[in-house]
Amino acid sequence: MSAYQLQKLCRAVNSDPVSRKRYFEEREAFVGGFALTDDERRALLALDIDALYDLGVHPLLLRPFTIINGVSQDDYLAALNPGKSA
């Protein structure tokens, strides 16, 4: 699983204002435009940071994506299960 579409979605929200607006205002429809697996879709809609990380979203896409979603640095690191290896 390459997580290509999932990462493409995160990058669009991070860098494209039109995509960001759609993500916040019509999330289901926006997310439906990307070919996600069920696990990816669930993790994304729940903003399950630990799962998104494990699904393969690059850390330098995931951290900015969580910043846009209002997640603090401390909350971000706490959400990543520190018991796992990097």
Binding site: S2, Y4, K8, R11, S15, H58, R63, L80
Partner: protein, 272 residues
């Protein structure tokens, strides 16, 4: 004319975005070090600056990921990050030198991408800010993929640098060459804040001693173990290729945990 100045520098965004979080003596060592490099660069008489650099999903993504991309724009703008606390800056390019480099690489059998429109993120703008603000010179960005797996090997980056070095030694201009990135850091990772000081020490020693064998064979896995950001030392390896045996002098090294980076500054000189 030739290469008149060379340095390797880290570009951790914390150095401009949240400098106050670093212990004061570490911050001062990094700022003093950057001031030294800035002064020596200015004194070298360099007319233009070629930068081996990296980017962070700013211009490129998996739909089209070049291993190497050379900027040949008339001008660039940056930084793209509003939080970096670096003023929006127009950075002049040097399309003539970029074209010279691109043509020579093709002749040497190395095939980079090139682009007439690149946005600059902190990877290039932090060094531009510290080294060139108020004393701007034209810049040729050479962006290496140090971000997306798979990425070019150390050997491949070294060969790119070696071919560019040959071109720069034959060009009419006085050129400064800067490598930026690294050292050990793991931004956004579970291991964020971990700094592999042993990796940094070994790597800086290899750069200082122009230990080509060690640099050319540095493995992807060893870099990865020092954090995702450590892949950016490929830019330094390209610089070592370009310099063909110049030795290095550490200007500063600080493992700055609040900036989550092993921050290295090194200048290079022709071997006596």
């Amino acid at each position: 004319m030739t290469i008149v100045f060379a340095a390797g520098v880290s570009h951790a965004p914390g150095s401009t975005a949240w400098p106050e979080l670093a212990p004061p003596e570490q911050k001062q060592a990094v700022y003093d070090g950057y001031a030294t490099v800035r002064g020596d660069l200015a004194a070298s008489g360099a007319e233009t600056v070629l930068v081996f650099t990296s980017e962070h999903w700013t211009n490129f993504f998996f739909e089209n990921m070049p291993p190497f991309c050379i900027g040949r724009a008339e001008a660039y703008r940056g930084p793209v990050e509003p939080w970096l606390k670096v003023p929006q800056t127009e950075v002049p390019g040097d399309p003539a030198l970029a074209n010279e480099v691109i043509a020579a690489l093709f002749d040497a059998g190395i095939n980079p991408n090139y682009s007439d429109e690149l946005k600059l993120d902190h990877g290039t703008m932090v060094p531009v800010h510290f080294l060139l603000s108020g004393a701007m010179k034209p810049v040729v960005p050479v962006i290496l993929n140090t971000l997306a797996d798979p990425m070019p090997s150390s050997e491949s980056c070294f060969r790119l640098g070696a071919a560019i070095g040959e071109t720069l030694r034959a060009t009419k201009k006085k050129v400064a060459v800067i490598a930026t990135g690294g050292l050990s850091h793991a931004p956004g990772e579970r291991a964020q804040g971990f700094i592999d000081a042993e990796f940094d020490k070994t790597f800086l020693a290899a750069m200082a001693n122009a230990d080509m064998e060690a640099l050319r064979s540095l493995s992807h896995e060893r870099m990865a173990a020092a954090g995702g950001g450590a892949h950016e030392v490929r830019a330094w390896i390209a610089l070592a290729g370009a310099l063909g045996g110049w030795t290095g002098e550490t200007i500063a090294y600080e493992a700055v945990v609040p900036w989550a980076t092993g921050f290295g500054l090194m200048e290079f000189h022709p071997a006596a």
